[in-house]
Symmetry: C2
Subunit: 233 residues, 2 copies
Amino acid sequence: MKKKAVVLLSGGLDSSTCLAIAKAEGFDPLAVTFDYGQRHRVELEAARRVADAASVPLMTVRFDMRLWGGSALTSDRIDVPSAAEAHGGIPVTYVPARNLIFLSFGVSYAETVEARDLYIGVNSLDYSGYPDCRPDFISSFSRTAQLGTRAVDDGWTFQIHAPLQNLRKNEIIRRGLDLGVDYSLTHSCYDPLPDGMPCERCESCYLRTRAFEELGLTDPLLEKKRMKLGKKA
Amino acid sequence: MKKKAVVLLSGGLDSSTCLAIAKAEGFDPLAVTFDYGQRHRVELEAARRVADAASVPLMTVRFDMRLWGGSALTSDRIDVPSAAEAHGGIPVTYVPARNLIFLSFGVSYAETVEARDLYIGVNSLDYSGYPDCRPDFISSFSRTAQLGTRAVDDGWTFQIHAPLQNLRKNEIIRRGLDLGVDYSLTHSCYDPLPDGMPCERCESCYLRTRAFEELGLTDPLLEKKRMKLGKKA
C-alpha cells in the first residue's frame, strides 16, 4: 500500500504541479484546499477540477480571514496592484501568516490520518516576495511541526516537502507538463474577471504568462480566455 | 498609548489568567477565541464572559476540526476518558496540532493589527501531556513566526509569551486571584453536563479541582454547580 501524503492544493499552477510530484514520488495524496475569504474564490473550483483530474480526494477547510483582512486578497478596501505597480518589499497581496495557517491545518489532518508527509508548492525564485514562501520559514516550520505533534513522542519524522522551492516558474511548468498536468484546469490570478478568467494585470498573471512564454508556449488558460472572447465577439 | 498584544482565550482557567497577566504586563489585549467544533463548545460563552469582565474585545474564529476528528474533543465516536482512566502517553483528548493552528491565527491577527506580542496560556507541569503545550514547541513556533512574517524583513521581533509555561496549576490560580480573575466565569471541563456545568470526571476537571484544593479553596465553579443542584433539589 502506498504511503499517504497531505498536499495543500490552492488550484494554482504551483500547487497543482506539487500534487503531480507527490504522486510521482510514490505517495497516495490527500488534497486540502482553503476557503478563507479570498478575492479569487474561483480558485476553489480550480482545486476541485485539478483534484478530480488526478483522482485525488479533496478536503475543503473554511474560515474567514476577512475578520481582520490586512491584504488586497482578503479586504475589498485594498486594490490588487498591477504587476507594473509592484514595488520592492512585501506587496499588499501578502496575506499575513497564510501559509503558516495552511500548513498548520495540513499538519493536523496529516497527523490524524497517520500521514507523515505534507507537500506545499511554495517557491521563492519567481515569487511575490512573501516571507512565508522562503526556505528558512519552511525548515523552521518543519521543526515546529515535529515538536508539536505525536511525532516527537513516537519517534517518527514529520516531513514537509517543498519540491518547487528552488525552481524557476518555467521549470515548474516544464516539470508539470512532463507529469501530464493540464494547466487549463488551474487558476492563478489574484483579481479575476467576473467570468473567472485571468485579469492579465496582476503579478500572479504576469509571472505565469512570462514563464509560459519563456518556454515558447501560450498559457492554455489564456487560450481558453481568447476562445471565450472570440465566441462573444 | 499601550502596546497591543493578541491573547488566545479559550475561556479556561489558564487562558483567563494569561489574559490578566498580559494586562498586568502593560499591554492592551485583543482576545481571540476559536469555535472549532469542540465538544465543550460551552467554553465559548466563558471566553465571552471573561473578555467582557476584563473589558477586552474578543474575536471569534470559526472552522471545523470535526472534518477529520481524531480526538475525543472533536469526534463523537471517541469518549472523553475519566481522569482515573488516563494512562501514560498522549491522551485521546489531544487534538492534533490544535495549538499550532490557534497560534498561527494569532500571528496572522497580530501581524495585521501591528501587534508584536502574542500570549498563550500553555503550561507543561499540571497538564495532559499534549506535545503542543511544551516549551520546545513554543520556542520553535516563535522562531517560525519570526521567519514567516513581515518581522523578518522589517527587523522587529515577534514575541510569543507563555507566562504559565513553568507554573504549577495552583500557582496559576494564585497569580490569577492576585490579579482579580473571577474563576466562576471560566470553563475547563472537556465533557460538560447538559447545563454546561463541569463533569468532575475528566482530567481537566481533576487538575483544576486538585489545584484549588491545594490552595485550601473550593473552585467557585463547583460552588455554582452545588448551588444549582441545591435549587433543583
